[in-house]
Each structure stands twice: as structure tokens, then as C-alpha cells.
Amino acid sequence: MDFLLQGFLKGFALLFTGDPETYSAIWATVGASSLSMFFSLTIGVPLGFFLGHKTFIGKRILRTIVDTLLSFPTVVIGLLVYAFLTRHGPLGGTGLLFSIPGVAIGQTLLGLPIIIAMTANAVEGLDKRLPITLTTLGASPQQILWATVMEARFSIMLAAMAAYGRIVSEVGISMLVGGNIKWHTRTITTAIALETGKGEFAMGIALGIVLLAVALLVNVAATGLKKKAVK
């Protein structure tokens, strides 16, 4: 048990002394996850809104596909993105392999189905009286669309948090697409995997504490939002 305790103590020390290697992994994670969240939300919210709001042929099939993608293994996404970004791949010339934007592309693919599915659910679950209310208050079609998104805002934020939780804790994409390059694309999760493999528990625990803190923050915020979303 001693090594665990030692690991925790060293872990806190690394965090509080500002260890550069530890913080490099933290910043790489923040960079990749921020980029991927930006793209997941920018693309996913309109698509989810469309899927939940409109009725069209093939909607059920599309919903089934999106729901299936929710459980897409991260290593498979990593493999696909790697295949596209590798030198011989269709996007090999972009130079995105083993870079933070490359990791963000993979993480966007991971977060998108979550945002789309949860936004669609949120919009479908809105009160049927909402469009009548907005129309009879004089809103234009564009104002109705925007107000509908605003009505679903707590559920959309919840979707963002669920996506962030999945993105920040994935290993497969970061490992395959990022390559776990020290000072460059080594994220919290790939660093934990590597350091644990080397028997260096302290850094692994320090980074684990950061991940747990993120998970705690996300959960606290999500609990508050869930209460508002169901009211």
C-alpha cells in the first residue's frame, strides 16, 4: 500500500510545484478537447436540432445510425482517423497526423454523435405548446428557431458535458492519432498509460487527480442543469 500513498503524495507535489511535464500533458488535453468541443458543438447542435425538429424520410434510420455511433470504440475512431491522415491516406498531405488538431478531429468524431443524439432528444422532448406560443407572440420563423434552441439550452449544455466527459477521458484516439509525443501530443490519458507502464505511479496519479477533478466539476454542473432541464 505504501507505493500508492507515495504515489498520491508525489502526485500532489507534481501538481503544486508546477511540474512542466505534467502541465504539458494537461495543456495538450485542454487544447485538443477545447478544439474538439468547439467543432462538436458547432456541427452537432444544428444537426441535432434538425434531426429532432424536422420530419423527413429516413429519419428513423438516421437516428439509429447516430445512436449506434454513440458506442463507437475510441480505438476504431483513432484507427480510421489515422488511416485518413497517414502519409498514404487521402488527407496525408495535411500534416495533421501526430498533432493536437489531428487528435481534435478524432475527438470531434467521438463527441458528435453524443451532441447530435442528445440535442435531437432535447428538441423532440420540448413542450408541444412551444411553437404555438412563439407564433402567437409574433415571432418570425427565424425567431421561433432560435427561441426553440434557447428552450432546449439546458439539455444542450448537458449534452456538451456528456461529450466533454467522453472526450477528455479517451485514450485510443490520442494514442493512435497523437502518437503520445512528449511535450507535444502527450495528453493526460496517454501519459497515465505510459507512466503506469513504466512503473511511475506519481505522475499517473497526479494526472488522474486532474481527470477526477474535471469529472467532478462536469458532474456537479450536469446535476444542476438536469434539474433545470426537467422543470
Partner: protein, 218 residues
């Protein structure tokens, strides 16, 4: 004689092959208060939805200010508004709910207008403006929804069972507010209700509907 605000001519509404409304002629003039009475399923709500330009009639004409009008969200909905039986409040504060219609119209002096509308429905602006939508009782929510419509000074205010789930005090406040809208802005009111006593106190005419047709006007 001035042009009616809304008029129906040979209007029929058919759902799944069944005729639910058949009105040969109905004019809503400016400042009119018309009560709609009749049993459940008599077509009161269907008529209100047509008058609110939410549903197009299957046949016949529906005109606003003398011109046949589309039901697409647009200019007419800025003049004609509907308060449903259990109104929906936006997931915002009371102030934001009442201000919504003014904001989409890009009106000025919104704070004062919201303040006055809340007073008109008997809600203290100081204590209610910042309340969230989920902090209201049923009667308060109904009055906020009414304030959100009165503040727009509509040409026509349609109300579907506005007092069905309210206590006597709230019902009285809603009646007072609706009557004031007619006095101050010459708003026409069309009120569907089972409460004949309440209808009798506010209406100039009461139209009795049965099986979708007008059977009596008093």
C-alpha cells in the same frame, strides 16, 4: 361600417373526413367582446385556432382587416394573439416572458411596458419580475401569460378557457385585465369558456356552438 378585424365566410374545418366546424359568417369587429360557449367537442378551440391564424380552414375564407390572410408566422400574428387554456411559459424569468413579444417586435421602453402589464394582471413587478418560470403557481403563470399578450396591445386577444383552473380571485383579475385591454386599446376579445357566468359578465355577445355550428347568439 368599419372593416371587421377578422371575418370568416363559409368556413369549414374537416379532420380525417369528419367536419368539426361549419360557420357561414362571423365578423369580429374592433373592440368586440365575444364569448364562445358550448359543450366539449363543440368546436370552440378549433374556431379559436382558426381565428388565431394557426390552422387554415379546409374551405371558406379567413380574412384579417378585409384581406385573405395566410397562416404562416408573420405580420398577422403580431396583431392577433392567443392565450391557451394551460399556457406555456418560456424557461426564463417572468420579466423575460412578458418582454419576449416586445423584443421580437424590437419595441422600445420595454421595462416600463412589462412593469405596467404585470400591474394590469395584478402581479407586483418588484417581487415577480425576477422569478423563474418554475417558481409560479398555476394562477400566477396564467396571469404572466396574459400579461405577455396584453403588453403587445393586440388588435385581437383570443382566450381559451382562461379561468378553467383558477380560483375566484385570479378569475376576477383576469376578467378585469381583459376588460381594461378593450377600454384602453380597443382590443377585441374572443373568449371560449364553460363558465357562462364569467362569460356573461365580460361579453357583448355570446355565441353557442354545437357540433361545430353556431346554434344561438345572444
Amino acid at each position: 361600417m368599419s372593416t371587421p378585424v377578422i371575418s370568416l365566410n363559409k368556413t369549414r374545418q374537416v379532420f380525417s373526413g369528419r367536419q368539426v366546424l361549419s360557420i357561414d359568417e362571423l365578423d369580429i369587429n374592433q373592440g368586440d367582446i365575444i364569448g364562445l360557449a358550448g359543450p366539449n367537442g363543440s368546436g370552440k378551440s378549433t374556431l379559436l385556432r382558426i381565428l388565431a391564424f394557426l390552422d387554415a380552414p379546409t374551405s371558406g375564407t379567413l380574412s384579417f382587416m378585409g384581406a385573405e390572410t395566410s397562416i404562416k408566422p408573420g405580420a398577422v400574428h403580431r396583431q392577433v394573439t392567443l392565450l391557451v387554456q394551460e399556457p406555456y411559459l418560456l424557461k426564463r424569468t417572468v420579466y423575460a416572458n412578458v418582454a419576449y413579444g416586445l423584443k421580437v417586435r424590437k419595441k422600445s421602453d420595454i421595462t416600463t411596458k412589462v412593469h405596467n402589464a404585470l400591474i394590469q394582471v395584478g402581479l407586483d413587478p418588484e417581487s415577480f419580475s425576477s422569478r423563474q418560470w418554475y417558481e409560479l403557481s398555476g394562477g400566477e403563470a396564467q396571469r404572466v401569460a396574459l400579461a405577455a399578450r396584453l403588453v403587445l396591445k393586440p388588435k385581437v386577444l383570443l382566450m381559451d378557457e382562461p379561468t378553467a383552473s383558477l380560483d375566484t380571485k385570479s378569475a376576477k383579475l383576469i376578467r378585469k385585465a381583459a376588460l381594461k385591454a378593450r377600454t384602453d386599446n380597443r382590443t377585441s376579445l374572443v373568449v371560449a369558456s364553460h363558465d357562462l357566468d364569467w362569460l356573461g359578465k365580460v361579453s357583448d355577445h355570446i355565441i353557442y356552438l354545437e357540433h361545430g355550428s353556431i346554434v344561438e347568439t345572444s
